[in-house]
Every structure is written in structure tokens, then in C-alpha cells.
């Protein structure tokens, strides 16, 4: 038969469509952040503020690292290098794990004041979505590392997921870390 069996066409498009919806949920929260800011007196209010800037920077670095490793794994599958792919998967899992911890700390930092004002609640929500996405990235990378499979469609899932993380993180960072401070 002139064509081989893969699932790349379907799975990559499926991931794209799912990613669009997940990004749209997050986008709704971002919309909420800005919408509430326009009606509120001060955003953030006196005595409250965005989570640690250092953690924000570190998370941004981990997003770049994780996405880079996932992309690397995707490249290496073409070469069929099992060891290389596995190392990249393990690395991506570690980056995702670290970022999940950092963003969970961001969420935790906002929770004590969340019942008083919409700002910390919204910030916690935005970071919560990203933290969950990091968690899922860890699970995916771990499963791939354990099952020792070198298939393009599997690595494509991981790379696509990290792309989604970048799409979720960038507006979060821009809204919370940058926009909150220039207010």
C-alpha cells in the first residue's frame, strides 16, 4: 500500500482543537481579569498585589526550557534515537514538575485574601489553570518516558501540549506580573 499507518493527521488536529478550547477557557478568565479591573476602584487593591516577580520569571524560564525539550524530543523521534528522546522526555517532565510547584505557590499566595476581593481570586484562577496544565505535562512526559515508545505522534502530543502551556502562560504573565505592576 502506498501510505503507511500513523495517527499523526488525526491526533495532531485533535490536539489542536482541544487546545483551542482549553485556551478559550483560560482566555475567558483573562477577559474576567481585565473586565473586573475596569470596574474596580484599584486593581490590584491597596495591600494586595501580584505573586512574587521572581517566581514569575522562573516559571517563564521553565516554560521556555520545557517547550524546547519537548520540541527536541519531537525532532529526535525522526532520527529514532530512543535514548535521546527519553532524556528529553525526562527533562521536560522535570521542568514541568518544577513549574507546577512554582505556579501552585503562586495560587497559594493569593488564597488567603481571595474571599475579600476579586483580584486575588482571579489571579489564583489564572495560575491554577497553568499549574494544572504543567501537571498534565508531567503526566504525559512521564507516561512517554515509562512506555519507552518512539512514535512521532506521541512526541507530537507532548510538544503540542507545551505549546499550549506557552499560550496559557504568556497572557497570564502579561496580565498579572506586568499589567498589575504598571497600574
Amino acid at each position: 500500500m502506498p501510505v503507511g499507518p500513523t495517527r499523526l493527521a488525526a491526533s495532531s488536529w485533535g490536539l489542536l482543537m482541544g487546545g483551542v478550547s482549553i485556551a478559550a477557557v483560560h482566555g475567558s478568565f483573562v477577559f474576567g481579569f481585565f473586565f473586573l479591573s475596569t470596574g474596580a476602584g484599584a486593581w490590584p487593591p491597596e495591600g494586595m498585589g501580584p505573586p512574587s516577580a521572581l517566581r514569575g520569571l522562573a516559571t517563564t524560564g521553565l516554560v521556555v526550557l520545557g517547550a524546547g525539550l519537548a520540541a527536541l524530543a519531537w525532532r529526535l523521534t525522526a532520527a529514532g534515537s530512543l535514548a535521546g528522546v527519553r532524556s528529553a522526555h525526562v527533562g521536560a517532565a522535570l521542568a514541568g514538575g518544577a513549574a507546577a510547584v512554582l505556579t501552585s505557590l503562586d495560587v497559594a499566595s493569593q488564597i488567603p485574601e481571595a474571599v475579600e476581593h476579586a483580584y486575588p481570586g482571579t489571579v489564583a484562577l489564572l495560575h491554577g489553570v497553568v499549574a494544572a496544565a504543567f501537571g498534565a505535562a508531567v503526566v504525559i512526559a512521564a507516561v512517554l518516558a515509562v512506555t519507552r515508545r518512539v512514535r512521532r505522534e506521541d512526541s507530537a502530543v507532548l510538544a503540542g501540549w507545551w505549546l499550549l502551556i506557552a499560550v496559557l502562560w504568556l497572557p497570564t504573565y502579561a496580565a498579572v506580573q506586568i499589567w498589575s505592576r504598571v497600574q
Binding site: A10, A24, G41
Partner: protein, 634 residues
Amino acid sequence: MTATATGTAVEHAVLDRTWSSRPGIVGWLTAVNHKQIGLRFVVTAFGFMLVGGVLAGLIRLQLIVPRAEVLGPEAYNQVFTMHGTIMMFLFAVPMLEGLGMYFVPLMIGARDLPFPRLNAFGYWLYLGGGLILMWSFVTGSVPDGGWFAYPTLTGPEFSPDRGLDFWLLGVTMLEVSGIVGALELVVVILRHRAPGMTLSRMPIFVWSILLQGGMILLAFPAIIAASLMLEIERKFGVPFYDPTGEGNPLLWQHLFWIFGHPEVYIMLIPATGVVSAVVQTFARRPLVAYPLVVAALTAIAILSFGLWVHHMFAVGIPMLALALFSVASMLIAIPSGVQVFSWLATIWTGRVRWSTPMLFVAGFIVIFVAGGITGVMVASAPFDWQVHDSFFVVAHFHYVLFGGVVFPIFAALHYWFPKWTGRVPGEALGKASFWIMFVGFNVAFFPQHFLGFLGMPRRVYTYDPGLGWEGHNLASSLGTGVLTLGILVFMVNLAVSASRGRIAGPNPWSADTLEWAAASPPPSYNFGELPVVGAREPLWAPGVDLDERTRAVTTALRAPTAPGAREQLATTVVDAQIVEVTRLAGPSIWPLLTAAAVTVAMVGVLVDAWTLAVLAGLGVVVGLVAWLAPRSPA
């Protein structure tokens, strides 16, 4: 088009063994076949429609005379809330997605949806969400905030009991289910069309499902996000919508209508897709102005995301913004007009057979145009200040949703019944059911326009005599009774025809699309010889000459190329050129278990059993890993 099912009996037996669900109850629980899942959606949604219909009957019974005491105020508020919720979330969207799941793969020459297990998961999630909503009736804490659930009324302070939690959690599950189904349908349409079925040869119904899917993927997330925020506010007191904590109740309205307005067209677009299919079949000629109709559908899908503020004309938004949204809303009349006159021109230049589906379509055109005209009226912001949230609007959206969506759904059920059962439904009862429904509908809903002008707001459980509202309300209630009778006749007709109807054969209506090339009912694998398409109306066109490569591929796929491999073709997005052979997943219990875990987690949140919720949440992760994890290399 091509040859239909050819190949040897042996090949068919192998294909059938490969694609069939397992036997028995286990097979039923693990089934992933798109026809089984799609039919489950259709049947379940029809069942929920009956529940919603009973609630509608209760509403009209309470309003039949002034100061009636059929329902108290609490019960009435619960009943109209659940009527709207069921009809929107449990009936219309799942019904249309179910029709898409069943017929789109057949119409595009595919063997299944690309993620069969995800599809099964979507159904179980739908069932779970529906059961959570229905469970509220058992507990007595029935949602009572209206189908659009505006805070602050639905916030923790003014709706302290669990009713709204049932609503928020149940509806969120339904929306996730909707997204899952849309994802399937979009991917199957873009990547698994029969070779040669370029975008410009796609049936209008497939176009409509594609657009519906895209809209679901973008619109449903907004209500998921809004519901999550409201549930967090209710459970933990985070003031997203509470102005005392700098939240804003209008945030809900914006998010809800960013979902809610496209939602209208998410229901309407596939309904018009059905209409185009039926008109084309029964007028026995290709749809007039196919490219314009596709452009019109696309325009509606895009425009519908820019109209949400027209549900918020009375919240004090500056006039300039209102004017822009007024204009955008009115512009919908143009693509709608293109569709209406395309159908009329097709009828005019065709040779129409007035079978039952065609009657429903003609009734649809009349009612839909009336609802569209009142739609342009309510799009005019100053006029909307008068009729917004009045019975005029109730009349308007029932013209659009009952006339515009339910009539086409009934047409579809009658039209595709032979494909499901192998038998043609009876015409006499079918036509009778149409006329009874058509008369009943108009008697029920036309007078409600007057009530709106006469100052009757929607969602009032009672009214006083002497306001001039009695006659219109009485007519409306009696009309509802007639409408109910029509629906019963329709159901009796299908029930009788399922066993006594004339044997259909593959193509009882002499229709043009590929689902009519498969047997009735279709085999598990749909097509033995995968169809190759050379025209927009493949069954009305002569066969195509296959090139070497295509012939080699379709010949090879007459049987699985490896034992047990469920294979279908993946093609390019625009031109439908073969790119790969996709192997699909087979039956699995994990979709059911994962959906059950999601349901348990939601119930845990609902009853504040947080340990249970967390454990079930972990169960979801385990289920997903078990279901999705690639098998280790042999």
C-alpha cells in the same frame, strides 16, 4: 460516485468482525462505534425533550388562567429553569451532535470518528451531567435561577441551597461533552473525508456540522469558565460576581452571552443543514447557489460571536456600543435570507415530492422567517428596551428555536429513520403529525407576541385578571396541548413504522449523499469499498475513474491490513487527497470508568464531600492514563 459496497463475503465478514462491538452487556458498555454512540445521543436527547416538554406543559397549565394554583412560585421557578436548561443543554445540542456523529462519517465515506473512545466518553459524560441535573428533582433542591442563571441572584447569598450547584456542575459536564463531540466532528470532517470530496463538494449538512463544531470549541469554554467562577464563589466565597468584593455581576452576563449567543446558532446552523439536505433530496435537484449558502453559513458562524451584547441592551451600556451591536445583529438577516431564498429557489426549480420531512421543512421556513423578522426587531436596541424579557421575546425565540430547530430535527428524524431501522416511516400519520404540530405551535406561541406588548414579563408564575392577558394566555395553553398531541402522533408513527414500515433499502428517498450508499442500517464498518467522490452529489453523478494510487489504497482497505486493525483513510484538509491510513482505537471500558469518576468527583463537590471529590479526581487521571497510554513496543 463510486461503486457502493463491493468485495467478497469473506472480506465483509472480516471487516465486520474487526469493527463490531463486543457482544452482550460488556459490549454495550465498551462500545465506541460512531453509529451506536450517535444513536444513543439521539435517543437520550429525545427522552430529555419529553421531560422538558412535560415541564413546558406544567408552565402553560399554571398560566392558563389568572391566579392559577397548579404550581407555587418556587415550583414554577424551578420548572421554567429546568425547561430551558433541558431543552438547550440536554436536548437540542446533544440531539444535533448525535445526528452529526451518526451521519457525518457516513456522509463523508469514513468508517468511524477519529477518536472513538473519546466519543464514547463524551456520551457517558453527557449522561452523567444529565443525571446530576435530574437528581436535583429527587433531592428537591431544583435549580431555580433561570436558564441563564444571573448572579447575584444565583450567588451564595441569594440562592443558598444546592439547586444552583446541581445546575453549574451538571451543565459544565454537558459542555465538556459538547466540546468533545465537536472536536471529533471537526477532525473527522477536516481529515477523514473520502478521497475526492474536496471542501467544495462537501454536503451542506457536513458544512453545518463543521461550523457548529468550530463554534462549540470556541463558545462553550466561556460558560465553563463562568460556571467555574460562580461555583467557586458559591463554595468558597471568592467574590467574582459580588460587587461588595469588587466583583461584577455583569461579568457573568458577558461570559454567558459570549457563549449564549453563538449557542443559538450552534443549534440553528445544523438545523439549517438538515433543511438543505431535505430540500435537495425532495426537490430532486442540487441546492441552488451552494457557494453562497456555504458563505452564508460561515458568515453566520463568525458574526454570531459579535452579537452577545444584544442580550444586554437594558444594562446601561453606552448607546454607541448598542448601535454597533444592533447593526451587527441585524446583518444576520442577510446570510439567513440567502439560505431561505436558496431553499425557495430550489423548490421553485425542482420537482418536489411532499413527503413528511419536506412538510416539516416548509413549516420550518414559514415559522423561521417569522422568527427571523421579530429577531431583526429585537436587534433594534430601543425596541428591545420595550420587549426585552417580555413574552414578546419568549414568542420570538420559540419561533426561532422550536420552528427553526425542532421542526428540522423532526424532519431529520423522519428523513433518516430508514437508515437507522431499515424501514420507511408511514406517511399518513407523519403528515398528520406535521399539521397538528404546525397549527398547535402557532396557536401556542403567536399570541405571546401580544402579551409582550401588554407588559407581561417572562418568568412570572401568576398574573391578575383584568390586565387583558387572559385570552392570549388561554390560547397559548390550549395551543400547547395541540402541539403535544402532534408530537405524540409523530412518536406513534415512528414506533409503529419501526416494525411495520415498508422495507427501505439503501436509498428510499433517491437522495444524493453517501450515507444512502450504505445499507440500511449500515454495517459496523459503514463501507466495504471506501467511496471515492467526484461530484457534489455523488449518488446522482456517474462513477469516478480511480487513479492507481487511490485504487491500490481502497482495494487494500477492503479488509484490515493487520489482524484487528480498524483502519480508515486520512486525507488532506482542502482537497481530500490521501495522506495516511489511520488506525483507530477499539472498544474500551475506560471511557465509561473515567466519565463515572468525573461524575463522582462532581457529586463530591456538590455535597461538600471533598475527600471523595479528590479521590475521584485522581481516578480521572488514572482512567485517562490507562485509556490513552500508548502500549509499550512489542
